[in-house]
Amino acid sequence: MSELRNVAVVGFAQAPIVACDAHRTATEMLYPQVKRALAECGVEREAIDYQTAGSADYIDGRPFGFVAALDVMGAWPPKQDSHLEMDAAFAAYYAWIRIQAGECDTAMVVGYGKVSEGQPERILNLQLDPYYQAPLGLGPMTTAALQASAYMARSGTTDRDLAEIAARNRAAGARNPDAQVREAATAEALQQTPWVVEPLRQGYVPPIGESAVCLILAAEGKAEELCDRPVWIQGIDQRAELQTLGARDLSRSASARLATEKALAMAGLDSASEVDVIELFATNPAEEMILREAMGLPPAGETKPVVNPSGGPITGHPLMMTGLIRLGEAFRQLSGRAGAHAVPNARRAIAHAAQGHALQQNLVFVLGRERRWS
């Protein structure tokens, strides 16, 4: 691996996830988070070279909706800017590439979206092919349930196993002030909740939520000025699976496995078990098990590394932001900002983001308190 620029996460701000913020529009929710992230870095907007957003026009309910975010991102005088119709974690990956290319030294990455304004199950149905899949009414909960069934059949996982994973996430979420579901619940209780789409129960999946998120990246030389404890990106990789659901083995995530291997190799690590914390984009317990397996970890039970100490997406899943929040959470853990849900002495972390039906696209960051390249 040739030498790359050391790039760090140096700031992160997130609005607590709520079902609906009736007082603010999407950009009005975002503005205070942009201000907070800059304030955390002790800088004004002039310190940011490049900015990018992850959002979806179908969630905004208007074409080119992302341009509205410019007004609250400090984009004046005009800045280098781009947008991804993806979870904002993928925008962070893109920003990292721009920094590697030498086009900028600092980047602001935002995620936003008023999920409560539209109907996400309808919107994400349209992501499927319009001939055979979308007309069936398949939505993300249905494709997730198909994947969960496939995984359970292959692995022998039971409903009780799913309930225990959900309960562990719920217990963790109770300690995270930004989580949406903050009441712990026992596996017994969660197992009594009704099916949403069998084998997924209401207690295993997140409610609809919205937030606004801003994360700041900076290259070595700038990062130390912006943050007392920069969290360095040591490895990074992104892989996508085929669009045709029937062409995939839904019981596994080949792309998460490969992305993890490549990101670990870039970081100079052999195994995901060498990190202290993993934040997974797992929106139900079966996804968590599939991802843990893909990363070479035991699919269930308490592990070192600690998985989703924030409560994970099961306790808060704001579309287009859930992945960037994983990166922000990893930053919080390694920079001593995780408060009540801190993992003691965490030095390395993995932040994972996914996009698309049944974990179609996977992005893995390996992060650490030390610089990767000398």
């Binding site: 009736a22 309910g61 609250v72 004046w76 409560s116 304004e117 539209g118 319009p130 001939y131």
Partner: protein, 166 residues
Amino acid sequence: MTEPPKEPVKYVDANLYLPYRYTAGDCRARFLHALKDKRILGSRCSKTGKVFVPPLVSSPESFAPCDELVEVSDRGVITTFCIVNIPVIGRDLQLPYVAASVALDGAALSIFSAIQECKPEEVRMGMRVEAVWKPDGERQGSFEDILYFRPTGEPDAPLESFVHRL
């Protein structure tokens, strides 16, 4: 493969139905509610003092919060305009009509509206105009409570007075 069928399926129709309910937000809600009383609110930038109409929670220009709501006049000046000969979606306006940018007295930015009650060729930059409101009892707290703007007959404003608000 044999011959294709004589009546192939050429298209698959899809009628996409995606309802939205846009959140007004407290700031916009106050603006819209005031229109019921024929009042136009703006927000003042805490850094530059500029007044934005409709109100914004933050200034795109200075990046500072704009927390203070202030009332502005329903009269102003045409800063730029065009004569439209193509029909507008959702509005029943006689063609051609004038679409104009109107800087209200007290506001740093312009709003957009139609100009009526005069011939299109009479419209000019600097022309003084006033809002024509829906009648009492019909206003809903919507931007459409302002039907259009019309000339007031006051002397034109000199270019220097609105050149910074183009």
